[in-house]
Every structure is written in C-alpha cells, then in structure tokens.
Point group: C2
Chain length 746, copies 2
C-alpha cells in the first residue's frame, strides 16, 4: 500500500494486462494493485514472478514426496505453448499435428511478425502494410486525427496513398535474430554476495546490449528467461515512419464495449492498418504474410506469432494459494467498496452518472479479470494439475545430485515466507495512507506524502522506501503540487469507506485501528478530518513541503497529525513485507532455474513481451450449457445490435447500417482457437500451415483468464478477427478496393 | 435400484421434467431414476417430496436455534411466485409493481389459460384458437399427419378452416372454479392409526370428486397443497375436439436442438396453433387473450399463467444435502459410465454412431439438468438462504404452542432418516440386478425378475416389494417375455461396466461385492456369465417362468445362479430403504402442514400441475462475463445457422432460407423474464398488465435449473417466444394472413 499509486483509470484490455499483472504482484502496491489502474509501463520489464507472496496453512499438509520412477522430463500441457523462435518444438508439432515446418517457414513468419509498443502486429503486404488491433493504434490514430475530429471514433480510410497520415508516436520492431548469451552473463557473475551478484549480472547484460548495438546498429535486448535459467539476446530492426492507413469506427472495432470485453461469442472488427515508410516511400517488404483465401476453418491448425507480456505459470503452489486466499480477495473487496460508493454517487444525479459511468465499467472489467484469474485458482482440477506438476518437478530436482543442493529448498522457503506474509496480511492491507480515489482519500494520501518526504529525503537513495528511490521522490513531490481540485463530499465518502474497511478488517486492539479510529465512528472521524484540514489547497501543501520536517512536525492540520501517527506503523509494515518479498524473489529465481535445468527448452518459458509462436486449433467449446461456435458472422453483429435495441455499447455506426444490404452477412467475423496468448499478444497474426494470415488476435474468452497461471484448452480460447471479415468490411462497408486488393495481392 | 426401470429414453424437456423429478426421488429407482428416461406418467400425481432422503453428517453441526424476535410471517422470495388463483397476492403485487388487478382481470386470464396433457396453453381468438408449444402438440401433430409424412418435421399450415386436421389424442381442460375442501377432507379423518388415516383421507377425496362430477358434469380434482396443509377442489371443463391449425418445422421450433435446450440466448419458434371445436364448428370463446401490438418490452411487468408440474421447495435442508451429496453424485456417475460406454461404441462404426447419437444427446441433456439442480445445492449463498428460511420456520413452529407438539421434531426426524440412508447409500446404489441398458445388463436385470417372481407371487399384494404390487407383477412378467434381441457384445460391455462400478463403489469385504465378484476381475466375471447364460432366448425365460420356484431354484444358468445369490441382499436393502422413506414421507407432510400453518397462503405451495399465476419482469441478466439481452431477434437465428455452418441442429428449413428476404430480421424472436416456471408450464401464455398476450413460455435458462429447490431471479430466467415473432413468421414465412389476422383480431 502506498500513497501514490493511480495515475489514471482505464479499461483493462488485452494489451494492457501484462503491465498490470506485474503491478498486481508488487507488494508495495497491494490495493492500488488495482490491475487496471496503472498506466506507467516500465514495470513490464520486471519478471512477473519476482515479487509475490504466501500461502495459507494448508501448504504444510502437502503430501510427503514419495520416490516414484521418473521418466525423462517431457512437455506438459499446463506450461502452455508460448515457444521461443530459437527453440521451436519440432518433435511435439510433428507428433501432435503431423506438421513439420522447415527453418525457412519459421524465419519467414518471424520476420513478418513485428512488435509495437505494448502490442503485436504483422506485415501483410509487399508495400509495408502492417495489421494490428484498433486498440493498439489508438495513440497513433489520435495524433493522426485533425484537430476537430478523432478517427478513433469516426473511423478513417485513406482513399489514396497520399492520404495516409503520419503517426508521431508509433514504431515497429522486427526481430532479426536471437542469440543465447547465457554463458557471457553467467560468466560475469563471480561475487559471493547476492547484491554484488545482481550488480554483476545487470552490468553484464548492459555490456552485451551496448556491444551489440554498437556492432549492429540494431536495438538489442537481453531477455531473461526461466528467471535466469537462460539469457537470450534479441536484436530488432526499428522502423519509425509509420502511417495510418485505415481504422474502423470504435463502435465497430469495440462493439459490445466493456461488457463483452474478455468474452466470446464476439462481434468486433478490432483492426487497424498502418504502413511502414522508408525514405518517404512505402517500404518494400519481402517477408510479409500472404492473405488466406479460405480463412480459418473448423479444426484448422493455426499459429499465433506475437509478444505475450507476462504469465505466472512458474509461480509456486504456495504463491498461487496466497493470491487466491489473500491477495485477490482483498483486491476484490477494495473494488467492491469503490463500486458501492460510485453507485451511490451515480444515483445522486444524472451528471454523476455520466461522470462515473466509464469508471464503473472499468472497475467492473477489472473485477471480471481478477475473478477470472481466481476462478482458475479455485478450480480443484486445475490446482491438482499444478500440484502434480510441482511435485514432479521437485522430485526431479531432489533426484539429481547436481540440482538438489542448489534448488531443493526453494519451494519451502517461498511457502514459509508466504505464510508469514499471510499472517501480516491485515497490516499489509491497511497500514498506510488510504489510497487515491476511487479507492480511498486523496487528502490522506497527500498527507502521507508530505510527512514522508522530509524523512525519505534525509536518507541515501538505497535506504529509501522503494517508491522514493531514483526519480520517485521528485515524482511524488511534483504530484503533491499538482493543482488538482478536491471534491470534498466525494472525499468524505472515500475517507469514510476506507475507515469503515479498517474497522471491519482490523481487530479492535490493532494499533493502526487505535491510531486512526480509536473508539470513534468512521463517519465522525472522517467529518472531523475533513472539517479541519487545509490540504485541499495547493499553497497549504506547498508551505508544508517548503517548511520541511519542522513544518510537518509542528503542523496542527488534522490530516498531517494523523499521517504522523500512521508513519511509523506504515514504514514498519512496508519494510517487513519487503524483507519477505526479497526472500521470495530470490527463491522464485531458483525455481525458474531448476525448471530450466530439468526441462531445458522442452517447456516454453513464462512470457517476457518478446516474440513467441503458439500452436493451436480452430475449435468451438462447451459454454453456457450449450456449444460456442468456432466462429461468429456479421449476422451476429446485427443480431446483437437489434437485441440490445441499438443501445451503446451495442450501437453500430451509421455507415454500417447503410451498407448492410451490400454485405454478405454470412461472412465470418470473429473466431476462436486454442492458441496460448495473453496481454501483449493483441494484434498478433493468426497463421495457417502455409504461412498465410487467417486472423488477427484481439482478446481471450472469459474461460481463458485462468490461463495466466495454468494453461488449459478445454474451454479457454483466443479470440481473433477473421481475415475474411477484414476483406468484406474493406470492400462492402468502407468501399476500399484499393486496400482489399493490396491485402489479397491482386 | 430395480430390475425394471427404463421404458424409453428421450430428451429431457421442460414439459417432461416434472414427471421425472418425482421418479428421481423414488428410492427404489435410484439409478434408473435417470430423470430423463421414464415415460410412465402417473408418478406425477405423487407429491414430489414424498419420497426423498437423507443428509450428510454436517446436518448435526447446525447452529443452535436461538430465540430471536419473530415478526409476522411474511412472503419470502425463495418460495417463488407460483400463486394459486384462489389466493392471489394482491398486496404483494401492489407493493412490488403498483399493480392492482380486479377479480374480472383474474377471472378472464384464468379462463383464457388452459391445460393440455403435460402442458399449458391459452385461448387466443374468439373462434377457439389455442396457442401452445410445438413440443406440446407432438402427439397431436403425429396423428394429424398423413401416412407418408410427419408434420412435426415438415411443418403444417391449414390454408383454410376446412384444412384444419383432427387430433385424436389431445384434449383441453379449462379451470372453471376452485373450492377449499380442507374441512371436508380433514373432517373425514378420525382414525388413530396412520394407515387408516390415509385410507380415510383417500376415500374422502374420492367422494368429494365423485359428488362434484355428478353434480356439475365437470372434471373434478382434489389438489393436495402444502403436503396436506390445504385441499382444494379444482373443476375443469374438458374440450375433446381439438384440431391442428399450424406448426412450424421442428428445425425452426427446436432450433439449436438438445445442445441449446435449457439455455438462453435462444432462437426458437416453439409454437403450435390448435383450435377447439364444438359441434364440428370452431368454438365461440369469450375469454381469450388479446394479442399485444407492442409485445414484451424491456422492464415490462408480465404474468405467466400455467400448470407447473413439480417443485421441491419444501424439501428440508437435510433432504437437499442428501440430493447434493449422495443421490445426484451417484446418478451422475451412472450417466458418466453410460456415456463412456456409448462413446466407445460410437467410435467403433458409423452405424453405431448413428444408432447412439440421440441417446448420447439425451443423456447429455439429463446430465445438464442434474448438474444444474446440483449447482444450486452447491451454491453456498443459495443454501444459506434455504438454511435461514428453515431456521425461521422452525423457530416460528417452536414459538407456537399449538404447532410445536405436532411439527417441531419433523426436521430432525427427516435428518436422522437421511443420515441412515446415507450410511447405507452403497447398498442402495449397488445391491440389485444391474440396470437396463445403457446403464447396466439387460440379462442380469431379467435374471432378477425371474428369481423374484416366484417369491413375490407367493406373497399377498401388500407384502410385496412396491414394484410388484397391483399390476406391477403382471407388467414385469410381460416384460420378461418380450421378444427383444440382445446384442451380446454391448451386453458384455454393460455388464463389465456395472461390475467395475461395483468394484470401485463397494469395499472389498462387502457381501454383495463378494457374491458378484469375489476376487475375480470384472471382465472375467462378465465373460463367464455371458458365455454360459441362455437368458437371451425368450423360450429359456418362458421355461423358467413356467417352471416356477422349482425351475429357478435348480437352474444352473450362471445369470440365474448369480441372481439367486443377490436376491436376499437386494430385498434386505430395498426394505430397509422403504422403511426410512416412509418415515421421511410422513415427516415431509408435517413440514408442509407446518409451513401452511405459519404462512397460510402468504407463500405459494409447491407446484402440483394445476393452474398458477406467476409475476415477473422482462429483463436481461449477467452471463458469460457480459450481459444477456432481454430478447433475441430473427437476425440471431440466421446468425447461429451461419455460425454453425448450417449444420444440424442449427440448420434452418429451406422455407426459412427462401423467405428470409421478406422478413424483418430485427423482429424479436424470444425473450426472457423473471417469472417462476417449471416443467408443465410449457405452452403457458405470457400476459401483460392489460391481459394481452406478449409471449409463449417454452423453456428456462440454465441458471434457472436450481429454481427447482430455491427460487432466485438474479440470473434465472423463463424463456418465451415473442408474440411479435409469431405474427412475423405467420405473415412472412408461412404466408398465412388468415391466421395472423385472426390472432391480431383483424
């Protein structure tokens, strides 16, 4: 829990969740975790598993590991199918599908598959056309729009090449090569002390990257796989002249809106066409994906090439149990509290309703995501598979004299640390300065920053709390001086809701509860804090900042007085958690390395927002008591519009209503397949055996949410736009035979 | 478990389940329970709760009942809304909807609502048109079809009145009046002994019915409500000249087939139009439902008037826990075993696949139903509501000196009996003669009948096992002599599967297991039984029957030898169960009477296949991570057809494909509402405030299955055909302006 968490609140989309997943696991952001709320993106480079925690007691009741004969370590399905291009599973593909691609096939689809910031995409014409999702091109589309309009909303089709419009924010990275640099990185680590080891490793990574960049003029990234089991150097060619060619209206691209997000059956044309230019001319591309004539058919083998952001499949059982039993329930309680408050506010006036509508939808979507992840963790079958896998892995480690001393205790160490974190969950959850709205009080949050800044400023960087290190302190100072109006009535509701949660969540004799509430009612405490504080004024905050510790220590502002009392409790809770998380982090690295030592690349590594290839099959699934079809058609899109009385988010653009008579409504619109994807895969091409494009990934169904932790394909599906829908829409809705012909190679 | 259970296997549909529900609870038919498999219908007249059983141990951990202030007994939602017409909840309707119908309104909708065998229907024109479901008119449609065709499949539209075709099997019952006859029935019961009381009550009921029929020439039925808390005399006018006017093709009426059964969104025109004739002319009807112009709109208050067959809302918590923990899991295991075997058989040849396809679909549907019921019993929120209701009811009984001595111990008596049934569940489940295919061995089943008949014949009727009483013995004898071919390879699979289940379900020292298996493998036992038996031959069975006990006792046929060993074990298990079920049955009656004593008609009674009126609201619901729309449209029907590549059961009739350009595809097709329905309600009209018909009930969604035990309306919905769909189809698909005009009163 920290005082500066939420920069923005947006709907949680496929391309964003990998960022937020890391955040979710960040122990210092327990409630603002908030999965959906954090837009700062650099956390994505942390390994997802580095920072989680702890199990309920039952971890101790784990059955004794018995010596069973262990065959050779083989691929297991729960590890998923996010294969790296330098270790393609030829034998598995051959056995499973009778598919035996050669290296030319692989090189071709690798070069045709590109990365955008936070998303994936592909080259789809010899003249540099790039296909991705509507929601991956939003920033580009916004910059390409004239001042008086927003192409994201209205849609855009460049009638001629001259009409294609420059995107200032977008670039395209094409993966040129991968090199195993594990020996270089490992070799550089010679120190004994863990801190020094980390520094040596980071420095080795930096050298490898710099050397590579100097030598090749490519963008070079060392990717840490299997928590350090393997280090791979990825070299990218970056293209920066990217232009907007075509986007549908948002109503067509995101038809069904937040309610339909993470679900299937689905009716979205979630696409955008961009073009890469070089020297002001369309780039000549050799390795692009040819357009399939037939599209995806029921039962087809298909591949998804893209950049999955983050998965948690290496989390230990103890970590998953902690998420299931402690972390997620608390997060959901925070969401529930916010929803209750926002619904109450919305009921007050039509203005409030408009004001909070998107926020409510966004939180609902985050609830949907967390509940989906948790559903997997609550599924006894899934957890039994995970337990079985872990038991097997530990048995293999224990059976190998070279591995046993290094890794054998890692799972127990993690379990013990998670247990301690569980024991202090109440402190971790509540000991702090509330949260930002809509999850707590802005003013108390500011007060926390004001009392901490003098204390933290006095420390050397490495001794500070994590959020105050590096540029953190300056960022927090800046946020404190933002001229942000405070709605005092909302603020009081937030504060009251937070105090009520404290009252319910902490026992009566808890020191934090004693300090913030004592025997008073939450409403009364909130009222007296609100009536006495001046912190809503920027100048008051400025004065306290300028006055340093003297000003803070002598302030009689009730928020500051309370924050001073909270400070030692909050610091203590944060430091205790940080210590346990360090233990977990170190042992999670061991688990990853142990996995790699046992399986090598027979199992794909957790996602790292680098290029992967996943195999799967186009296939319906059991749902809602019946069967979900493997595809939807344009008929279904018009069905939904009429079934929801053409109300948003099921309203179709006028252009679609007008062009409908020209359309073949039986054309496939979206389809599902068993490929293994996650946030970051948005915009990935779906490719058939012949290397042709048959679809465009844009989401997963709700049953796929548990795949974050354990892959299954009974009902979990990736959701794609059909290649045939794109042609049909280009020809008969947008009347752009120019683009349809280019895609079809005519 | 019994030797003669399954007459037929059909898909479990809304109009049938009330029959099967009773069967399900019949203890002597534990596995053939089979919900879906029994077509003999007279069990429906038993009270649903009369024959159930027993709870897991946790029943004993029930919290102590504390004295809390009890306000007046009020309507509680979990009791549902199946109101009788003699006790309409005027105050509740007024408070909930501001709706205050007068007695004219009620009389009108009562007279317009009629009953068909197993179904409901309504008068919808002044000239005797009756609207019901396609699946309610199947028998009628079959008899009305010419020899070379089946109108159920092809559809039928009478072009003129002269073309309307006589149905020989159908009649229509119109409820004329209801009279409370509780005093007459109660007054007649003067004996002390329970057996004598039952006889006096049955005789009083028979007298009341006979007197009424003599006096009124109406059909008179005494309906037992609240397990004898109340007795009501229902008087019906019966109309027997019923003619077929119009049915759609089955592909349109049952679009989506078994997979979509019990689900929504749905796209079915599940309708049939019949006409009642008197003196060879269309009957002149005053009380018919006028056709609504606007149809059902989002949020509309609507009523369903129809004949719900059977609910289990008065089951005690202990009974529900028994169903959840013992009965249903065993039933599902039997289904699973059958499915495994049928799938293996289907995989052997295309012929087998065709042969077993319907059976597999039918079992899948039964699994869907049972899993749905059980889902409610597994839902902690639903069970907590049930527990709270039961606690409150018991507290009210205990607080009333008049009720306490009569009823206070009933719940505990039931719980104790259920506990004993649970303890003997293994015997109850397995001690018998296998089952009929596809759930066990036909030959062993026959052997059981052959060894039992001499023993049972020797007893007076009342001392026989229930299935041998009355006409039972003769029926079993007849079944034994049916010239039914036996497929020995299938038979061996069935027998092996049953023996394997015995091996898994019973401990090694169990006497039944010792007798049928000993230490031998199931495969070996099955093989030696099959190779030695002659029972597949009718003449062999005839000889054993003719030879009586002497022949049976000396037979060396291995099936007979085994059956002789099983007999005493099976008899003992059946009798022990019967004794416990009698205890439960008597106490269940007390629970019903206690409920009535406390609530009187403030709570509607459990369903009795007599006319009820249920209130509800047209409303979508949360589903699949998103929202289900309150209605579907014809667009959705064509969408589904194209999304499933026009394959059955999502194939549309040619006529629909041809007429599509003439149709307004935005016309509502089906819709959902929160009305309280169950099997028997099929064909019920959905009526708006103005008494106009807006829809036609044909199913419930999958979330409504748990409503069998506890009513909720968070996601549970009734599914209806829209009145507007009927007009659109009549005019633009079937081109019958004659009928559309008549319905619209033009």
């Amino acid at each position: 829990m920290t005082e500066f968490g939420m920069d923005d609140f947006r709907t949680f989309r496929l391309d964003e969740d990998y960022v937020n997943f890391d955040r979710l696991l960040c122990p210092l952001r327990r409630a603002t975790v908030a999965i959906a709320f954090l837009t700062v993106g650099h956390a994505a480079s942390l390994p997802a598993q580095a920072t989680t925690r702890q199990p309920p007691e039952r971890i101790r009741k784990e059955p004794p590991r018995v010596a069973v004969p262990l065959g050779p370590a083989k691929y297991v399905k729960e590890a998923g199918t996010m294969w790296t291009f330098d270790a393609p599973p030829f034998e598995y593909w051959k056995q499973t599908y009778g598919f035996t691609p050669d290296s030319t096939w692989l090189t071709h689809v690798r070069l045709a598959s590109v990365r955008l910031p936070g998303c994936s995409a592909s080259f789809v014409s010899a003249r540099g056309l790039v296909l991705t999702n509507h929601h991956c091109a939003r920033a580009c589309v916004a910059t390409a729009s004239p001042a008086d309009t927003n192409y994201n909303t209205t849609g855009f089709v460049a009638s001629t090449i001259a009409d294609e419009r420059k995107c200032s924010t977008l670039y395209v990275d094409q993966l040129q090569s991968i090199e195993d640099v594990t020996p270089q990185i490992r070799g550089a680590v010679t120190a004994k002390a863990p801190d020094a080891q980390v520094a040596q490793r980071d420095s080795a990574i930096a050298s490898v990257q710099t050397e590579c960049q100097t030598a090749t003029h490519l963008r070079c990234e060392v990717v840490t796989l299997y928590q350090g089991g393997m280090y791979s150097l990825y070299r990218y060619q970056r293209f920066t002249d990217v232009r907007l060619v075509m986007v549908p209206e948002e109503e067509a691209a995101f038809f069904g809106g937040d309610p339909d997000n993470f679900t299937y059956p689905r009716y979205d044309l979630d696409m955008a066409l961009l073009r890469v230019y070089q020297n002001d001319s369309p780039m000549v591309v050799t390795d692009y994906l040819k357009w399939s004539k037939s599209g995806a058919r029921d039962g087809d083998l298909v591949f998804v090439t893209g950049n999955p952001g983050s998965t948690g499949r290496l989390l230990t059982l103890a970590q998953m149990q902690y998420l299931r039993d402690v972390e997620y329930p608390f997060t959901l309680a925070v969401f529930d509290r916010a929803m209750t408050m926002l619904n109450a506010l919305s009921a007050q006036s039509a203005e409030n309703q408009r004001k909070y509508e998107n926020l409510i939808f966004g939180i609902a979507n985050s609830q949907k995501a967390i509940k989906g992840y948790r559903a997997g963790l609550l599924d006894s079958t899934i957890m039994a598979r995970k337990a079985g896998f872990e038991r097997d892995l530990r048995a293999r480690v224990d059976a190998d004299p070279a591995l046993r001393p290094k890794y054998s205790t890692a799972w127990t160490e993690i379990a013990n640390a998670e247990k301690q974190l569980t024991a202090m969950a109440a402190q971790a959850n509540y000991y702090g300065f509330s949260f930002n709205p809509p999850f707590g009080s802005q003013l108390l949050n500011w007060a926390g920053g004001l009392v901490r800044i003098p204390a933290e400023s006095a420390l050397v960087d490495t001794k500070r709390l994590p959020q105050y290190r590096g540029a953190g302190l300056a960022r927090i100072r800046q946020a404190l001086l933002a001229d942000q109006p405070v709605d005092t009535s909302t603020e009081r509701l937030e504060l009251t809701a937070f105090l009520k949660a404290v009252q319910q969540g902490l026992p009566p004799n808890d020191p934090y509860r004693a300090v913030v509430l004592g025997v008073r009612a939450p409403e009364d405490v909130a009222a007296s804090l609100m009536s006495g504080t001046k912190l809503a004024s920027v100048s008051a905050r400025q004065a306290l900042l300028d006055g340093g510790s003297a000003a803070v220590d002598t302030s009689t502002d009730p928020m500051i007085v309370l924050a001073r009392k909270i400070l030692p409790l909050a610091d203590q809770a944060q430091l205790a958690q940080a210590r346990l998380n360090d233990i977990i982090s170190a042992n999670v690295d061991k688990v990853g390395q142990a996995l790699f030592a046992v399986y090598n690349t027979k199992l794909p590594p957790d996602a790292t927002f680098s290029l992967r290839i996943s195999d799967g099959v186009v296939k319906g699934y059991p749902y809602n008591g019946t069967i979900a079809p493997y595809k939807t058609t344009f008929y279904g899109m018009f069905a939904h519009a009429s079934e929801f009385d053409d109300k948003a988010p099921f309203h179709l653009p006028d252009r679609w209503m007008q062009q409908r008579p020209k359309m073949d409504l039986t054309t496939p619109l979206d389809f599902v397949s068993t490929n293994d994807i996650i946030g970051g895969n948005s915009g990935s091409p779906v490719i058939n055996r012949d290397g042709e494009l048959v679809g465009l990934i844009f989401d997963g169904n709700i049953e796929s949410l548990p795949n974050r932790f354990i892959f299954t394909d009974d009902a979990a599906r990736s959701v794609s736009v059909s290649s045939r829908a794109i042609i049909e829409a280009l020809r008969n809705v947008y009347e752009s035979s120019r683009l349809a012909d280019e895609l079809e190679g005519k």
